[in-house]
């Protein structure tokens, strides 16, 4: 029950982000220079006369003065249209529909959070894949063959763990070029985050492989003359899947946060491409945040996602029992 609920939550969040081009009413770079820092648009069902409309609508908004408050202009009414221009919804032109308000350039925060999630989520997923592949490779080799491979792994792992991981992450980032394009920045982030975090999964997988190596059926297969390669592929690797899966649910949220942190500090993906980190950097000036609370949206968006992944990790850990 709990598992199903968590999976549904995660699937829904991922769907929103992956199909951002459909769910978001605007493109992430689309600017509405007349509406900087517009508050979230209210969607109405009943008009001023109290009549109910099946099709929701929005009022036009006007600003008292540049930088001033926004007011709804009851005279102008724009219906909310569904399935227009290949998107789920949008306001009839020239009305605007900012579900979560707009930023300083008049860009729709809701759309940008959805698009920004693509960078943040993809970084997390790909980096976790990278980490786990490295961990699986090293962990299996070290655990299965032992000897100098094992000693090298354990010593190297200690070196990696001797640094607090954010310091390690930033240190690796420090030695790489600062001013790079968005695509480069993305691959750089994935590479850094992925390679910095391989140690823990590698150690865990090593532990599993060590115990798997002595299992009866593995010894039997070895007695029949099975080669090391065959043993790993056929008997050892299948035993590591549950650890790999659990580790994935632990690593992905951690790596999403790592991307958010790096981009927030200006060391990751930069404008105009949104990521939750660089969007949240806009909310860092507190006068901006106090006057425009909706700028916090990208930060709040991480909470359900993390909750989903952490709950999933808990469930998997409970299932695999103590010892992991």
């Amino acid at each position: 029950m709990k598992l199903r609920l968590t999976l549904v939550l995660l699937a829904a969040l991922h769907a929103f982000v992956v199909f951002a081009a459909f769910f978001a009413p605007y493109d992430y770079a689309e600017q509405h220079r007349d509406y900087p820092f517009a508050p979230p648009t209210r969607v109405h069902f009943t008009d001023a006369a109290g009549r109910f409309h099946l099709r929701p609508f929005v009022y036009g908004v006007t600003q008292d003065s540049p930088g001033g408050d926004y007011r709804e202009d009851r005279g102008r009414r724009y219906p909310v249209e569904f399935f227009v221009h290949g998107r789920l919804f949008g306001a009839g032109a020239p009305g605007i529909l900012f579900l979560w308000g707009s930023d300083g350039f008049g860009r729709d925060v809701f759309s940008r959070v959805l698009y920004g999630g693509q960078i943040s989520l993809l970084t997390g997923l790909v980096a976790a894949f990278l980490s786990l592949s490295l961990g699986l490779l090293w962990g299996t080799l070290a655990g299965f063959y032992g000897g100098w491979v094992d000693r090298l792994l354990m010593r190297g792992a200690e070196l990696f763990l001797a640094l607090p991981w954010l310091y390690l992450l930033l240190a690796v980032r420090a030695f790489l070029p600062l001013h790079i394009s968005t695509t480069q920045a993305f691959f750089l982030l994935v590479a850094i985050i992925g390679t910095v975090g391989w140690v823990r999964p590698a150690r865990m997988i090593r532990g599993v492989v060590l115990s798997a190596r002595e299992r009866g059926f593995v010894l039997a297969a070895r007695g029949f003359g099975a080669s090391g390669q065959y043993l790993i592929r056929r008997h050892i690797l299948p035993l590591t899947w549950s650890v790999v899966l659990t580790q994935a649910t632990v690593l992905i949220p951690q790596y999403i946060l790592a991307e958010v942190t790096l981009s927030f500090l200006g060391l990751g993906v930069g404008e105009p491409v949104p990521s939750w980190g660089n969007m949240l950097a806009d909310a860092r000036q507190y006068h901006t945040l106090i006057a425009h609370t909706w700028m916090l949206a990208p930060g709040l968006a991480t909470v359900p996602l993390l909750l989903g992944y952490l709950t999933l990790a808990d469930i998997l850990l409970e299932r695999s029992g103590p010892g992991y």
């Binding site: 070196l159 640094l163 310091y167 420090a174 030695f175 600062l178 860092r284 507190y286």
Partner: protein, 319 residues
């Protein structure tokens, strides 16, 4: 004693390994402090090379490493080109800030986590336990970044707490008591954020550890002997439950230092974090290296302390 010496030697080896690796990595890195200069007009091609030669950046790697080790012996840790000063004094200014922040956060978090965890472990399966669990899960999903931003905004809006930094302007002229109170007020937000980040993890582990011991045969036997609940809990279960928590203390330090870096940058706390970020932005590798070494030393020292504590507390590892 022999154990302590062995652990200490091991820590030194780790530090040496980290320094060699960082040096190698910095050497592989494209560009250095002067490479941005090359792009500017009005800087002759020879100037950059001359500058690099003057600061010894053109020497081979082993020579530079030896020179760095020598300067470490003098307490300088190399020369920061961005600050135009030795790295050592810069670090010594900042380390106390980080230490103050992380030490108070650790102290406070454990102070809260142990009673809450024990209380939680004794009432497993009740409805208050379920509510508590859900609260912890939600707290765990709030990144420090978000809580720090929110707390700061609230502090500024209400004026209850200072908005950042470590001292109010003009604090140097105040009396010692006032200065102390001023620092305390500045500590509230960063420490609060760190404690909120640590608390859910710590409570879970305390709860798990105490619950394991409560379920173990020795606790059952003690209960069968009619030992009162309170004495069972504090006299028998708690000391046994403490051992895994000491290891957790060591593990949690790395996470804490990482979180502290972020919080320091956010609230402008004069610790290692902001210095590190500035060093990265300026591509000042000597300073980066200095901060890396100091944070590593902090973590390794913390782990060493945890190891020695565990050695005292748990006779089973004395082999």
């Amino acid at each position: 004693m022999k154990y302590a010496a062995r652990r200490f030697l091991h820590s030194l080896f780790l530090l040496a390994g980290v320094s060699v690796l960082s040096f190698l990595f910095a050497d592989l890195a494209p560009g250095d402090f002067f490479s941005e200069m090359r792009l500017e007009r009005g800087v002759a091609a020879g100037t950059v090379d001359a500058l690099r030669a003057r600061h010894g950046l053109d020497r081979p790697l082993p020579v530079r490493y030896a020179a760095w080790l020598g300067s470490m012996g003098r307490g300088e840790f190399g020369y920061s080109l961005a600050y135009n000063s030795a790295v050592g004094p810069l670090l010594r200014q900042r380390i106390p800030g980080t230490l103050l922040l992380t030490a108070s956060a650790t102290f406070l978090a454990w102070l809260m986590a142990i009673p809450l965890g024990i209380w939680n472990a004794t009432r497993r399966g009740t409805w208050s336990d379920s509510i508590f669990k859900v609260t912890l899960a939600i707290l765990l999903s709030i990144p420090e970044l978000l809580s720090a931003v929110i707390f700061l905004a609230i502090a500024v809006e209400t004026g209850w707490l200072p908005a950042g930094g470590m001292h109010a302007p003009g604090a140097e002229s105040q009396a010692a008591a006032d200065r102390f109170r001023d620092t305390l007020r500045h500590l509230v937000i960063p420490v609060g954020v760190l404690v909120l980040g640590m608390l859910p993890v710590l409570i879970r582990h305390v709860r798990g550890s105490v619950a394991d011991c409560l379920d173990s045969p020795f606790a059952l036997a003690a209960r069968a002997h009619g030992i009162p609940r309170r004495r069972l809990l504090f006299g028998h279960v708690l000391p046994a439950a403490l051992n895994p928590l000491i290891s957790l203390f060591g593990f949690s330090l790395g996470t804490l230092l990482s979180a502290s870096l972020l919080v320091e940058v956010l609230v402008g706390w004069p610790g290692l974090g902001p210095l590190f970020l500035e060093a990265i932005m300026a591509r000042d590798f000597a300073l980066v290296l200095g901060v890396v070494m100091s944070s590593t030393s902090l973590l390794i020292t913390g782990n060493l302390v945890a190891d020695l504590l565990l050695y005292r507390a748990d006779p089973r590892i004395r082999t």
